[in-house]
């Protein structure tokens, strides 16, 4: 049960930290983004980590969430809380439909198909100008300090909302992992044929995981739109800014573990932000370059992520002590 205590301590610390920070400052903004992307990595983790289905298309669901709630807000004045549910529902349906062409695909083929799907949506968002604003994107109408409209002048409320999202999604992840669905997902990951033989309906398992992951990802898209007030097709449907980043955050920390995406996000997001601040004067691209180099390095050193690197190191130390 030590595990629960550690989790509670971290959570309490996370709840206290912002009280020491300037509520409209830069540091809390970076932490808020890190929480958002940790939650995104966690949502990806349900499919990518547990089922080992390497999706490169999670931007599809993220973007659906951002666009659905924002379009409903602009055109009908509908609260993003409701728009969030609508976006999640649409993303769930999209994931369900997408599962038919991708059901039998694995590895590279699955990655390619999901990538193409998010590109389809990016192209639609870029060309359906009357609804989506086209390549220019959408601005969320600004009417701050309304919980109902999810808009605040200070970053502090967003911090707690993202923290809440991360806790909820991590909870869903743990629930999936320890439920019978999780055991079937693991069987699927280890050996799909064997899982099929012992009576696991692999198709149904994959679809369920994909739908849960997609719906959660869409809610984060809504939160992102409300947090940034402005987005364009590239920002929410982009392969590298969303899909690749979600996957990398989970993989870098340790895919399939609940702390993996949290470690990954709290390494990557502040690093990127810091690099942006330090290097942006020396030209665009440097921080992204560092991001790419880091990705390659971690894959070559320990493809199972930093968590595995740490646990390996710890067990090696222990062995040395005991011998």
């Amino acid at each position: 049960m030590k595990w629960w205590i550690a989790g509670a301590v971290v959570l309490v610390a996370a709840a206290i930290v912002p009280t020491f920070l300037d509520p409209t400052g830069y540091a809390i903004r970076v932490l808020t983004l890190a929480l958002l992307f940790a939650a995104l990595g966690q949502a990806w983790n349900i499919v990518g980590g547990l089922a080992n289905q390497i999706s490169l298309g999670h931007a599809a669901f993220f973007g659906l969430g951002a666009y659905t709630s924002t379009i409903l807000l602009i055109n009908f004045g509908l609260s993003p809380w409701i728009g969030m549910l609508a976006g999640a529902a649409i993303a769930a349906v999209a994931a369900y439909l997408l599962s038919f062409p991708t059901m039998k695909l694995r590895g590279h083929y699955f990655a390619l198909a999901t990538l193409a799907f998010s590109e389809v949506l990016r192209v639609i968002a870029g060309s359906w100008t009357s609804v989506t604003g086209g390549p220019v994107g959408l601005s969320v109408p600004f009417s701050p300090d309304s919980f109902w409209l999810l808009q605040f002048k200070s970053t502090m409320p967003y911090y707690y909302i993202m923290l809440g999202a991360l806790v909820v999604i991590s909870g869903v992840f743990l629930w999936v992992r320890h439920s019978s669905l999780g055991y079937r997902l693991r069987a699927l990951k280890e050996n799909p044929e064997a899982a099929e033989v012992v009576g696991v309906n692999t198709t149904q398992v994959k679809i369920t995981a994909a739908v849960i992951s997609a719906a959660l990802t869409a809610t984060l898209g809504t939160l992102y739109a409300q947090f940034t007030y402005f987005f364009d097709p590239e920002a929410v449907f982009g392969i590298i800014p969303i899909s690749v980043r979600a996957a990398i955050i989970a993989i870098l920390g340790g895919a399939g573990t609940v702390v993996g995406p949290i470690i990954g996000a709290f390494l990557i997001v502040p690093m990127e932000e810091m690099a942006n601040v330090l290097l942006s004067s020396r030209g665009a691209g440097l921080s992204q370059l560092a991001f790419g180099v880091m990705l390659i390095a971690i894959i070559l050193i320990e493809p199972r992520g930093i968590l595995a690197l740490i646990t390996n190191g710890v067990s090696r130390l222990r062995r040395r002590k005991s011998s």
Binding site: I54, P101, R106, A116, V123, A247, A284, I296, L300
Partner: protein, 286 residues
């Protein structure tokens, strides 16, 4: 007549699509790796040809050979230092090494060359040939012919030379190839070098009618994947057929849909083919 013209335009551009995609399928055929950074090597090839034009006065059609050689060398280095190390790793490692490479190359070009758009000027840039009621732009025809030439050269290499046969043997069974005295690692280096070199060559020959900038590869990513999946990942002949098919689909679809949706039609074709026959419509399954 508009339809025939569209098909003709599609065939012209399709030849180039075939050549830029051959590398992707070749690398997959030999080592089972999908190079997500393939389009970035196209960008690099275009930059090499652009600078060869700017500083040496080389026409891009000649500069394309330089692009091939330079990017071939780069490909060998990338294979030795990066790809080789994930050959037996799970797909997730393979995917993200090449995705990382994509990010690195894209941002390196951005840092080194800036975000400006560059284009070359040639004497034949605006010339058109007339075939009865049909028209062909000279730069398109030139790129098409160069593409055919390079595809033919690759075919001769893989089928008529010892190295080519050794490379195919490695693709079929690396262990057996090793036992027959073939250095499988060397063959993989050649394959990767050829793979990205061909793509760079294809990028260079379209330079007379295409501007180059660090993110130019984006427009080709899904296009390349569609070509190789249509033709069957791993099949070089399939990539040629797939290239023509994609060129024609793209060109003809502009008759019926707004031009922004051109790629949408392609993506739908891509997803449909993956769903129905992931091993490709044409060519051998792997």
């Amino acid at each position: 007549m508009a339809f025939i013209q569209a098909v003709l335009d599609g065939l012209m551009i399709g030849g180039v699509y075939a050549v830029i995609s051959i590398g992707l399928t070749l690398v997959f055929g030999v080592m089972g790796i999908v190079n997500f950074a393939q389009a970035e090597f196209l960008t690099l090839g275009m930059f090499v040809a652009y600078f060869a034009w700017k500083f040496l006065g080389l026409d891009p059609l000649i500069g394309s050979f330089l692009s091939f050689v330079v990017i071939f060398g780069l490909g060998v280095v990338v294979q030795m230092t990066l790809i080789q190390r994930v050959l037996n790793a799970p797909p997730v490692a393979q995917i993200f090494v090449t995705v990382g490479l994509l990010i690195v190359i894209e941002n390196l070009t951005l840092i080194v060359f800036g975000s400006d758009f560059h284009s070359v000027t040639t004497s034949y840039q605006t010339s058109t040939l007339r075939l009865g009621p049909l028209f062909i732009g000279v730069p398109y025809l030139a790129a098409f012919l160069m593409a055919l030439l390079s595809a033919a050269a690759l075919w001769l290499f893989t089928n008529k030379t010892w190295y080519g046969r050794a490379m195919r043997a490695t693709a079929q069974d690396p262990m057996a190839a090793n036992l027959m005295g073939i250095n499988a690692d060397r063959m993989r280096q050649i394959a990767f070098g050829l793979g990205v070199g061909m793509t760079a060559f294809g990028g260079a020959v379209i330079l007379p009618y295409f501007t180059v900038h660090p993110t130019v590869g984006h427009q080709f990513v899904v296009l390349m994947f569609t070509v190789v999946v249509l033709g069957g990942l791993g099949s070089v002949a399939g990539a040629v057929v797939g290239g023509f098919a994609v060129g024609v689909i793209q060109s003809v679809s502009t008759l019926f849909f707004p031009i922004q949706l051109q790629n949408l039609v392609l993506f739908i074709v891509f997803l449909t083919v993956l769903a129905v026959r992931p091993t490709g419509l044409i060519g051998a399954a792997r």
